[in-house]
C-alpha cells in the first residue's frame, strides 16, 4: 500500500520549502553573519542530502513505469551528491569553490530532464503544467550556483538560489494527481478528483 503521489509530492514540498527558507535567511543576513555560527553552514546541505536519501523509497515503491523509477533514483542520487559536496565544502573536506558547480550541474540536468520527459502541452493537466514549470524553473536557476561560485557574497545570486527552492516548493504543493490548471483539463486526462 503506497500513498497517493500528490501526498508524497507535498511531503517533499515541505522539505524544499524549508531548504528555501534557510537559504533565504542566509541571503538576508549575509554570508559572513550566517557563518558566525558554524552549525548554520551545515543546515541546507544536510537538508539537501537528507532529501536525496528519502527519495530512494519513492524510487523503489512507485514502479508503475520504468521512467518513473529511474527518474526518482537519479534525482535521489544527484541530491545526495550535491548535498555531500556542499557539506564537504562547509566542513573543509573539499577546498575548491568550483565544487559548488556540482549543484549547478545537478539542477541543469534535472531541469532538462523535466522538459525532455513531459510530452503533454502546458495546459493538458495540472501535472503537465507543473512539469513544464518545474523544468524551466530549475533549468534557468542553475545559473545561480554558477554566480555563487564566482561571487559567494553577492546578494542577488543568493536570493535567486533561495527563491528557486521556494518556487519549487510552491509548485509541488500545487500538485494534484488529476486536476485542471487555470480551468483547463484535457478530456483525455480523465475526470478530475
Amino acid at each position: 500500500m503506497t500513498p497517493r503521489a500528490e501526498i508524497v509530492h507535498w511531503l517533499f514540498a515541505s522539505g524544499f520549502l524549508l531548504l528555501g527558507m534557510l537559504l533565504l535567511a542566509e541571503a538576508i543576513v549575509g554570508y559572513d553573519v550566517w557563518r558566525k555560527r558554524r552549525w548554520r553552514t551545515y543546515l541546507w546541505p544536510s537538508l539537501a542530502f537528507g532529501i536525496g536519501v528519502f527519495l530512494w523509497p519513492v524510487s523503489v515503491f512507485f514502479t508503475n513505469s520504468t521512467l518513473h523509477m529511474v527518474a526518482h533514483a537519479s534525482w535521489a542520487e544527484t541530491a545526495m551528491i550535491a548535498g555531500a559536496a556542499q557539506l564537504a565544502l562547509a566542513r573543509g573536506k573539499l577546498h575548491s569553490r568550483w565544487w559548488t558547480l556540482a549543484v549547478s550541474v545537478s539542477m541543469a540536468v534535472s531541469g532538462l530532464a523535466f522538459l525532455i520527459h513531459e510530452q503533454n502541452p502546458w495546459f493538458f493537466s495540472r501535472a503537465a503544467f507543473l512539469h513544464h514549470a518545474l523544468g524551466w524553473t530549475v533549468l534557468v536557476a542553475a545559473i545561480f550556483p554558477i554566480g555563487q561560485t564566482l561571487r559567494p557574497r553577492a546578494f542577488g545570486w543568493n536570493v535567486g538560489f533561495a527563491m528557486t527552492w521556494v518556487t519549487v516548493a510552491v509548485l509541488l504543493f500545487a500538485d494534484r494527481d488529476l486536476a485542471p490548471i487555470f480551468g483547463h483539463l484535457s478530456p483525455l486526462a480523465g475526470a478530475p478528483r
Binding site: W56, T66, S74
Partner: protein, 436 residues
C-alpha cells in the same frame, strides 16, 4: 543489438533523468489480479487505468503456457479507462496477460502479469514469451558483483587489515572506493532489474520506458530483493559519506555490516533460493560464497590501487594482514563452493554434459589459477616480507591476481544466471524443471 542498447540507455538515463513521470496511463486495477490463483475460470480480463486510453492492436492478449491465445477482441468498458477482453477455453495452468494501450500523452503504456487457474501463478519472469537471461543480464550481474566487491573490499581492508590512523590521502581514496562501490551497486542493480523485467515485458526500448514494473517489484523474489537492496545500499552510501564528512571511521562498521547483510539479497533471489532442494543452509552457503569472493576480489583492488600507490610505508603490513584474511576467505569460498556444486549437480557427468556444468568447469579452472596465484603470494612472498625483504614487482603480481579474480566474478555472473540441470525425481524417470 536491442539488449546492449537497453543496457546503455538505462545506465545513461539513470544518470541523466531526475524527473517525475505521471503523464501517462497507469494500470490501477486488474481482474484477475497480478499472480492470483483463480479457482473459477475467468470469462474476461478487465483492466482499469487511471486515465482515458486508446485501443491499439494487441491491447490485451492472454496466453496459455503453451503459447495458445485464449483471449478475444478487446473493447472498452463503461468508459475509456476500462478495457476488457473475453477469454475462453481455459484449462488448469498458468496464464500470461500482456497489455498495451495508447496513453493520452501519446505514449504506449505496456505491462505483463500472470495468473493461475487452479494452480499457483507462475512469476512474471516466467511469462509466456520470456526467453530468460542473456549475456546483457550476465554483464549487469558482473557489474553488480564488481561494485559490491569494491564496496566490501575497501571497507574490509580499512576495518580488518589497516590500523587507524591511516594517512589522509589513503583514507580519501578508501572513502572514494567505498562511495563509488555503494552508488554503483545501486545503479547497476537498477539496470539489472530493468533488464530482467525487459525480458518478460518484451518491449522495444521507448515502450519499455513506460512499461509497468510493479508486478516485478512486488511479486518476484528478485524484485523484492531489488527493493530491499536499493534501500539498504542507499543507507550504506549515506553512512560512508557521513563517515568521511564527520571524520568518524566508526560509522564504517555499521556500513560494512549493512552492506554485508543486504548482499544476501543476491543469494535470496538467485537460483540458490528457488531450486527444489533449496534450504536455509544452501542459501547461507551461497551468501558466504558470494561475500568471501567479494571481500577477496575487492581487497585485491584496494591493495593494488589504494595502499600500494598512496602508502608505501603500509604496504608490508597491509599485505601480511590481507594474506591472513584471504586465507580465511579462500577457505570459506572453497568449502561453500564445493557444497553448492554437490547440491546443484546431481551427477558427475553433468559437469561436461550440462551447460551449467561446463560453465562451472570454466569457473573452476579460473578459480584454480587464482588460488595458485594466492598460494604463491602466501607461501613465497609472505615469508620474504616477514623477514623484511621488499620483493620487486609485487604490485604487478597483485594486479594479475586481481584480474583473475575479476574473471572469476564474470564467470560466476554467467553461472548465477544459468539454470542448474534438472534433478531426477525419486521413483520416476521424469525430472523436475529447474527454476531460475
Amino acid at each position: 543489438m536491442r539488449r546492449p542498447a537497453v543496457l546503455g540507455a538505462a545506465a545513461l538515463i539513470a544518470v541523466a533523468l531526475p524527473g517525475t513521470a505521471f503523464g501517462h496511463a497507469t494500470l490501477r486495477h486488474a481482474i484477475p489480479a497480478f499472480q492470483s490463483r483463480e479457482s473459477v475460470a475467468p470469462r474476461e480480463v478487465l483492466l482499469r487505468f487511471d486515465q482515458t486510453v486508446g485501443l491499439i492492436p494487441h491491447a490485451i492478449e492472454v496466453f496459455a503456457r503453451d503459447g495458445r491465445r485464449v483471449s478475444g477482441t478487446p473493447t472498452f468498458g463503461a468508459d475509456h479507462r476500462l478495457v476488457r477482453a473475453p477469454v475462453s477455453g481455459l484449462v488448469r495452468g498458468g496464464y500470461t496477460v500482456r497489455w498495451r494501450v495508447l496513453s493520452s500523452d501519446g505514449h504506449v503504456g505496456a505491462g505483463v502479469f500472470t495468473f493461475g487457474y487452479r494452480i499457483a501463478a507462475p512469476p512474471p519472469t516466467q511469462a509466456y514469451g520470456a526467453s530468460g537471461p542473456t549475456w546483457a543480464d550476465d554483464f549487469a550481474r558482473w557489474g553488480l558483483f564488481v561494485s559490491l566487491a569494491l564496496l566490501l573490499g575497501s571497507l574490509g581492508i580499512r576495518l580488518f587489515v589497516l590500523r587507524e590512523p591511516i594517512p589522509d590521502r589513503l583514507s580519501k581514496r578508501l572513502y572514494l572506493f567505498a562511495g563509488l562501490g555503494a552508488f554503483a551497486t545501486i545503479d547497476v542493480g537498477i539496470a539489472a532489474f530493468i533488464l530482467r523485467a525487459e525480458d518478460a515485458l518484451q518491449l522495444p526500448f521507448v515502450d519499455l520506458m513506460y512499461g509497468d514494473l510493479s508486478p516485478f517489484a512486488t511479486k518476484t523474489r528478485f524484485g523484492v530483493a531489488f527493493v530491499a537492496m536499493t534501500l539498504g545500499f542507499a543507507l550504506v552510501a549515506a553512512l560512508v559519506v557521513l563517515s568521511w564528512l564527520l571524520d568518524a571511521p566508526k560509522l564504517l562498521r555499521p556500513a560494512f555490516l549493512v552492506a554485508l547483510g543486504f548482499a544476501s539479497g543476491l543469494s535470496l533471489s538467485g537460483h540458490s533460493a528457488v531450486e527444489p532442494n533449496s534450504t536455509w543452509f544452501s542459501q547461507l552457503a551461497d551468501f558466504l560464497h558470494l561475500s568471501a569472493a567479494s571481500l577477496w576480489a575487492g581487497g585485491l583492488v584496494t591493495l593494488a590501487f589504494a595502499v600500494w600507490p598512496l602508502a608505501p610505508e603500509l604496504r608490508r603490513g597491509a599485505f601480511l594482514g590481507f594474506s591472513r584474511l584471504a586465507t580465511v576467505l579462500v577457505g570459506l569460498l572453497v568449502l561453500a563452493g564445493t557444497y553448492l556444486t554437490i547440491l546443484r549437480l546431481p551427477a558427475v557427468h553433468d559437469l561436461w554434459s550440462a551447460s551449467y556444468g561446463r560453465v562451472l568447469l570454466v569457473k573452476l579452472a579460473i578459480v584454480s589459477l587464482a588460488l595458485a596465484w594466492g598460494a604463491a603470494h602466501h607461501f613465497l612472498v609472505r615469508p620474504r616480507l616477514e623477514r623484511g625483504d621488499a620483493p620487486r614487482g609485487l604490485r604487478r603480481s597483485l594486479l594479475g591476481e586481481m584480474s583473475v579474480a575479476m574473471a572469476v566474478l564474470l564467470v560466476a555472473a554467467v553461472l548465477v544466471n544459468s539454470a542448474p540441470p534438472p534433478r531426477p525425481v525419486a521413483g520416476s524417470t521424469q525430472a523436475t524443471p529447474a527454476a531460475r
